[in-house]
Amino acid sequence: MNWVMSGVASATSFNALSGLLLIPAGAAVLLALLPGYRSTARLNVAAAALTLLCAFSLFFRRPEPGVYLLVDDLNGTFVVLTTFVGFTTSVFSLSYIGHELETGRLTPPFVRFYHAMYQVLMFAMNLALIANNIGLMWVAIELATLTTVMMVGIYRTHEALEAAWKYFILGSIGIALALFGTILIYMAARPVVSEGLDAMAWTMLVSRAGGFDAALLDLAFVFLLLGYGTKVGLAPLHAWLPDAHAEGPTPISAVLSGLLLNVALYALLRFKMVLAANSAALAPGPLMVTLGLLSLVFAAFMLYRRRDIKRMFAYSSIEHMGIITFAFGMGGPLANFAGLLHMTMHSLTKSAIFFAVGHVAQVKGTQRIADMGGLTETHPVLGWGLILGVVAIAGLPPLGIFMSEFLVVSSTFARAPLLALVLVFGILVGFAALLLRLNSIAFGAPRGPNGRTNASYVPMFAHLALVLLAGIYLPPALVAWFENVAKLLG
């Protein structure tokens, strides 16, 4: 009887894992074939919801690592976050795309294309997260890049095309460098593990890394950091990010900021674990700390001169990815915990902000900050939602980002006070810039056109409620979970 039970258990867990891949893939095919906006947009939501359910079921039954796929505490966190934001964004996209169709910015064939691509992107991100093979993960990240390139260019305006081209070229170079790093990792692993698939599996890489050739690992990590760092949007490599965020459809900006940057960061974290398991290899921490701080300070200053609202929040994403990379670079249980929490909070808050900004840009008919004003008077719900989001992202208490930033700063002060000073400086500069802009957008006399939109506020406020909740009370189960992951990260 027992073996029957365990057989059933393994079958269901297998289904949950393959569901993460098969549901989006199947939905993408269906959405590409089916005409009609209303039904396909709902199908998009339904597929995202099913994927989310699969992700939740991983909490209860977790499959053993296979040759190609793997779920552990670390990527479980990422998968749940990705599928959750993927689901809420699909709900937001329902009303957003409806409006774009009405105003004629998108035509029905493009909407069909958009929905199919949305599911392909979900598939690619899930695959990148649960792949147990560094080559497979690379392919998935490349696929995610290509999908987002197409979606960024979907409006086909001059600006959108330039943004997509820039993203494509820079993203491809990044991905190419990452592949070279991946090959180097394989070459380092081959003599120790064995030829073939095993030498590319995360499970093998981390457990056997002690015997790898340290010099090869060092070189590989430099390429991986530059390559995947481009996709994370770290400072000297960030040039594609603001354009891609500003010119694509807003649901894509939300997914880019909230999820795709995390996926690239996840890749870096895994490779960091491999290097950490080899005592002779260079310490990846200082490199990440430097890039993180550079991104933070650079983006904080860039926030001041933005005239386009989506570009402004894109720079804010660079800033926060800088903080997160910094926290993981510092390492240790506390900083890793803070990094994880900050990443989760940033994903939730930033996508909520983009939900608000998407509707704001629709009612105003523009993304220029100068043409927006007095939102709280003309569109109270939208205006206050945006205010709440910006207050959260700026790091004011009692919201979740305050908590996580506080943890990052305090854990740094204990170990490297000088670095903490730079960190606090960057955070404060960014904070002031955001509040300055918020003032002119949300308050004062109403400016600019006042269109209508049948906005869906549920996703935005659901995210903000979670962020608020996390700021006030973190459930012990979540704390235990994150502590566990933080220990795993070393």
């Binding site: 290509l146 030498a199 090869l216 070189l219 354009d243 001169r305």
Partner: protein, 220 residues
């Protein structure tokens, strides 16, 4: 590994670097495409030789893809696209030929120094291959940086990908998954680029990337 195997592999991979240099100083698009076809041929030969030397038949597939797809289909398609779109056939360079060649030599020296020093314990064939591959990758990057024309940037990117394939095949026993997907992603990348080129033409009557640069996202 007999030394003749090693010498031939060395020769073929080295010729790939040489052809990369040829690409660097072309100032006509058609000529550039022809040189790129030669680049892909050199890659196909090199990968084919690796397949033989490592006794890894699946690498012949990769060699075949390089031969058919990269050496024939892509250059022909790009050639036709240039005719159809009436693209300027001269390549505008950001930097003159002399400095670019010097920079190229510097990059090759750099990759030799880095790779040969790092991989002292690795198998000598893989080691040399990796050094050449990194040179090809860096030269491809250099080409993308020093050209303004979208088509020649794409060619630069494709020769960069050739370097990656060379590196992947040099790593003994690397699973097939990766090789096929590398080839496959080149294909997808190419389609994307093709669409972009068409769209760019549709909107701006030029594929000179400089003309796209008017936009900085910060219209006052």
């Amino acid at each position: 590994m007999s030394s003749i195997n090693f010498d031939i592999a060395h020769l073929l991979a080295g010729s790939l670097v040489l052809v990369s240099f040829l690409e660097l100083y072309q100032d006509r698009l058609y000529a550039l495409l022809n040189v790129y076809a030669v680049h892909a041929l050199a890659l196909a030969a090199s990968v084919g030789w690796q397949a033989f030397a490592q006794d890894a038949p699946h690498l012949y597939v990769t060699a075949g893809i390089a031969l058919v797809f990269k050496a024939v289909v892509i250059p022909v398609a790009l050639h036709r696209m240039i005719v159809r779109l009436g693209i300027h056939r001269e390549i505008e360079k950001v930097v003159g030929v002399g400095p670019v060649m010097l920079a190229g030599i510097g990059l090759v020296a750099l990759s030799m120094v880095v790779i040969l020093r790092v991989t002292q314990e690795a198998d000598p064939l893989a080691r040399e291959d990796l050094a050449f591959a990194l040179s090809v990758i860096l030269l491809g990057l250099l080409m993308m940086v020093t050209r303004r024309n979208a088509v020649s940037q794409v060619v630069g990117f494709m020769s960069l990908e050739n370097g990656l394939v060379l590196a992947a095949t040099g790593a003994k026993g690397m699973p097939l998954v990766v090789e096929i997907s590398v080839a496959f992603s080149v294909l997808i990348a190419f389609i994307v680029i093709g669409i972009f080129l068409f769209r760019i033409r549709e909107r701006f009557d030029t594929v000179d990337v400089q003309a796209l640069d008017r936009f900085r996202g910060e219209h006052s």
